[in-house]
């Protein structure tokens, strides 16, 4: 498997076309969007990898630090720069972190892999609470924006919500503070046991206060040193994310025309409601291109689809597209008046499944079909569930629902933070699936609780149906699945799921 870095998920149409070509020339004609916003190809021939890397370098891309015990791709909100609830565009900060962490000589052989995510908006769309380091733009009492820094979050076999180690940090200190955290981790993180080597274990073992003190001590040697960011450098980084040449629209009039078009064509109207969202600029919307069509592995995209989306990006969205950690693609800047045309094009290519944020928009790792670490397959489970819940009205009625599937403890499918999480386990050579409920990847982040004994693969659609019908029976008006779960707890779900199984 070759994993290609897509820094914070930003991709130009030219790069996307090159990726499509590579997948066709050197692989089986498709690629997979990972939960780190990277792109994976599953079948490259080892002897052709140098050629692939040369092709990537031709469009300023690479595969550096996409594997190994080093600092990986920094991820962020797929709607960065355009989200109406944004305090500040997080991408310039991601870019500064990318530069600092690329080939960092001291941190290339850490105890374990290391993942950083940045959030710049009111709603967390980057899962910062379950990252080794989570960075959140927040205002201090004086109203000045700086960073709240979390450390020690993670998934894997020991899921942990990150602890706040710094309530507010002046922006110019971002890199020196990260450096201090990494210095502590590199020297004191466990190296004797791969399963206890992530920073979350170190933070737990030291205790948050002692860890924070150790970081502060290291930081004293770094603070105000040469790595302190300058105004010029921050401005330079912001310059990479300049505002595209938006047309000036009368926002209300554009909304009204769009609403009318949606009413005239209810299928379009439905897609509009499910797969597009508000934009900072009047008359624009952001579009999520669903890679979650039933019958296709979640997050997979064919070379032809990638080329089409690249063309659509040129035509409708300033030549730029994004990958999301939920394994979809985004066209971030589409004028409302052109959404109908765009929808027609996406629909023709199977890229307009109106399910973003719903049950069938599952996050799923490659699992036992492709991954040598997996204990169990994950894609067939996703497909069976998608197949069972093919009634879109029922899916919409279930409301916002994150279903996450991982094929092993490494939790690449982020099952701990799914409202419903599914984990493949191996029991004497047979694939079983453990279900957890109540996880959340938002600002109210939580780790899901295990429902009980695991299930056979063929039973999973039934189990999902029981869980969801329990929710439908118990929910009060306007309650999401997570709301209901948090109100009633796991017991009612447990009773109904296992009672029926007996």
């Amino acid at each position: 498997m070759l994993r290609i870095a897509i820094p914070y998920g930003m991709l130009s149409s030219r790069q996307a076309r090159r990726l499509a070509r590579i997948s066709r020339d050197y692989d089986k004609g498709y690629a997979h969007v990972s939960t780190r916003q990277n792109l994976q190809m599953n079948w490259p021939r080892l002897e052709e990898v140098p050629d692939i890397l040369a092709e990537l370098a031709g469009v300023e891309m690479h595969a550096i630090q996409t594997s190994g015990n080093c600092i990986r791709n920094t991820t962020t909100d797929q709607f960065a720069g355009v989200a109406p609830d944004e305090l500040e565009d997080p991408r310039p900060w991601c870019e500064l972190i990318r530069q600092w962490s690329t080939l960092h000589p001291e941190f290339a052989y850490l105890p374990r892999k290391f993942k950083i995510a940045v959030c710049g908006s009111t709603t967390d769309r980057a899962a910062i609470h379950t990252h080794d380091i989570g960075v959140e733009l927040v205002a201090n009492d004086a109203g000045e924006l700086g960073f709240k820094v979390l450390a020690g979050g993670g998934m894997g076999r020991t899921p942990v919500i990150g602890a706040v180690i710094r309530e507010w940090l002046d922006k110019k200190h971002l890199l020196t503070y990260l450096e201090a955290i990494l210095r502590v981790y590199n020297q004191h993180g466990r190296r004797d046991n791969k399963f206890k080597a992530r920073i979350k274990i170190l933070v737990k073992a030291m205790g948050v206060d002692a860890f924070r003190e150790a970081v502060e001590r290291e930081w004293q040697a770094l603070v105000d040193g040469p790595t302190t960011l300058t105004e010029e450098e921050i401005a330079r980084s912001r310059g990479f994310f300049s505002t595209p040449d938006y047309e000036a629209f009368d926002g209300e009039a554009a909304e009204a025309r769009l609403a009318e078009a949606g009413t005239a064509n209810p299928i379009f109207g439905n897609w509009l409601k499910r797969n597009t969202r508000g934009h900072k600029i009047p008359g624009y919307r952001s579009v999520t291109v669903s890679l979650k069509a039933t019958g296709f592995a979640p997050g997979d995209v064919t070379a032809e689809q990638l080329e089409l989306v690249a063309d659509l990006a040129d035509e409708y969205s300033f030549g730029e597209m994004r990958t999301t950690h939920e394994q979809n693609l985004v066209l971030a800047d589409v004028a409302m008046d052109r959404l109908l045309d765009l929808w027609h094009e996406l629909q023709g290519a199977g890229l307009a499944t109106p399910n973003i944020g719903y049950l069938t928009d599952m996050i799923c790792c490659p699992g036992g079909d492709f991954c040598s670490l997996a204990n169990a397959k994950s894609i067939p489970v996703a497909e069976a569930i998608q197949g069972r819940f093919d009634d879109l009205d029922y899916v919409y009625d279930l409301g916002e629902l994150d279903v996450n599937i991982s094929g092993c403890m490494n939790a690449c499918g982020h099952h701990h933070i799914g409202h419903i999480g599914i984990l493949g386990v191996d029991k004497k050579g047979q694939e079983f699936y453990q279900v957890s409920l109540g996880g959340s990847q938002s600002k109210d982040a939580s780790i899901g609780k295990i429902l009980g004994p695991s299930f056979k693969r063929e039973d999973m659609p039934d189990i999902m149906e029981r869980i969801l019908s329990t929710y439908v029976t118990l929910r009060e008006e306007e309650e999401t699945f997570l709301d209901t779960y948090r109100r009633v707890g796991i017991e009612p779900f447990k009773e109904r799921v296992y009672a029926a199984a007996d």
């Binding site: 015990n69 530069q99 600092w100 962490s101 690329t102 080939l103 960092h104 000589p105 001291e106 941190f107 290339a108 052989y109 850490l110 210095r183 590199n186 020297q187 190296r191 040697a221 040193g225 040469p226 790595t227 960011l229 300058t230 010029e232 450098e233 330079r236």
Partner: protein, 154 residues
């Protein structure tokens, strides 16, 4: 006699390797434990293992002639932080990476302050020497280049 890369050239080693079962003697690198027993640290040579840290060395940095940092496995990167800390605290003597160091790591080792490299696999010294020049520019500050790229752009 074992060889190593020092100051950009392949040379014969003028020290005997650290050996916990040997008696401390002139011309032999001490283990940290042996070194701590020395009456005088002047002109001494000490080898640090992962987990030992460099705190014990800090009061004697002016006296020590050689610090060897061992990498029993290439994937244990604690030595990178040890080297950086020693140089940051003003250590000027020879700083040698020994053990399971691999060609891919040469640039990183050099950047954090090592000026001598003695891979266990002596057959690849020439290749390792070449790899010291694999990269020409870096984003971040380190010992070899104390200013990050953003402070050097014109």
């Amino acid at each position: 006699m074992r060889r190593l890369i020092r100051d950009g050239a392949i040379v014969e080693d003028d020290w005997l390797p650290a050996d916990e079962s040997a008696r401390a003697e002139d011309g032999r690198i001490c283990t940290l434990e042996q070194w701590q027993e020395l009456d005088s640290k002047h002109g001494s040579a000490v080898q640090v293992e992962p987990g030992e840290g460099v705190t014990a060395l800090l009061p004697h940095l002016d006296a020590i002639a050689l610090v060897a940092i061992n990498f029993p496995v290439f994937s244990d990167g604690r030595g990178f932080s040890y080297a950086r800390e020693l140089r940051e605290r003003g250590y000027q003597g020879e700083l040698r990476a020994v053990g399971d160091i691999i060609r891919d790591q040469m640039t990183y080792l050099r950047r954090v302050g090592f000026d001598a490299f003695q891979p266990e696999d002596q057959s690849s010294l020439e290749a390792a020497l070449q790899s010291l020049a694999d990269f020409s520019e870096f984003y971040q500050a380190s010992i070899d280049q104390p200013l990050p790229l953003f402070r050097r752009r014109r």
